[in-house]
Point group: C2
Chain length 212, copies 2
């Protein structure tokens, strides 16, 4: 199987268009309710092309999760919060960056892999693993800054950098669920605010009772 990148790139390849369509459609309707025909229509390619590039709908799901990891990875890699010299400032900058992303339509800020894994965790191990890799890989980058901040500020509670990093992801995923239920991002923003307040408290940036 030669998965090499296309030799020449005259235009967006069918594969690329299908992956972009997958991100959009699956985030809107979920994985199971998304049909191959719909993806082809959205991408403007023939159905044959779909099965030329992906051996099944399931393998597209895996590829979409991987593609999600790449694109979001690039987004966060180049985000401005990395410029802070202080690791705690980077952690809080990350939270603020996530909060700033909570705008526009719901399907534009929610998480592809969080949506997919809810549906297929028990029925499709390959997609589940790809989703796990995406979430855990992202959390690992947050964890690095948290660990550095813990060392720098001598913080040791009954928790680890890893558990706090994963907790940030849990809050975000849960915020997406509530945003979907309520039909707007307001609650998600408020929840991320609580997450920030928690981290500030853990690192003594706030005394218990204070103003916003």
């Amino acid at each position: 199987m030669n998965t090499a990148l296309p030799t020449a790139r005259p235009k967006a390849s069918a594969r690329q268009k299908l992956l972009d369509a997958a991100l959009s459609v699956i985030r809107t309707k979920g994985y199971a309710a998304t049909t191959v025909d719909e993806l082809c229509a959205e991408a403007g390619v023939a159905k044959g092309s779909f099965f030329h590039h992906f051996k099944s709908k399931e393998s597209l799901g895996v590829a979409a999760a991987d593609y999600w990891s790449e694109t979001t990875g690039a987004l966060f890699e180049t985000a401005p919060y990395h410029r802070h010299a202080d690791p705690l400032a980077r952690v809080l900058g990350y939270i603020d960056f996530r909060k700033a992303l909570l705008t526009g339509r719901i399907e534009e800020f929610t998480c592809l892999v969080g949506t997919m894994v809810q549906e297929v965790y028990d029925t499709c191990p390959e997609i589940r693993d790809a989703c796990d890799a995406s979430i855990s890989g992202h959390a690992a980058k947050v964890e690095a800054d948290i660990a550095e901040a813990m060392t720098k500020y001598g913080i040791r509670g009954g928790w680890t950098a890893q558990s706090l990093a994963l907790h940030t992801q849990a809050v975000l995923q849960g915020a997406f669920v509530l945003a979907k239920a309520k039909g707007n991002a307001e609650i998600a923003v408020a929840s991320v605010d609580h997450l920030r307040r928690y981290i500030e408290l853990l690192f003594h940036l706030r005394k218990g009772k204070d103003r916003a």
Copy 2:
């Protein structure tokens, strides 16, 4: 096939069996991937019965969300943490109760309406509203204790009882997503621990740095 069990049949109506089957199957496979035939097989009920009680699969989804609200409502109503006279003890007791539920197979402790709303928030407003009512109704009960605790202990930060109550639900929903991705409840337990620590900090039960 007539299993010929004359009087052994207790009062479990077909509707009831279908709702129980829906909770189990949808929590395992998601709403879209669940078929009517599968629900009938799981419930041991003829397909005609399904459409006798529910006019469509979608209306079953709404009924399942309502049924979920009832059963979980009863579960929490009778939970022991309500015996605490102190409202803050009730809030923390609620968190501990939620944590204690995080055992067994994943589909046994995850949330039906959180799973469903992820899939259908944009495609089926009626199910989404039923899921929202379930989550928001549950949060409102937590909110009452939080509000009482805020008054009793004179806590006023830049947050409301409502936003904190919804935040607890976001943490739980997100913990379920991560548990599904990782295939076990460990991370969910750790995230609920973080949530408890946050509430303790908000109510001055902890000083920033301390032991577990």
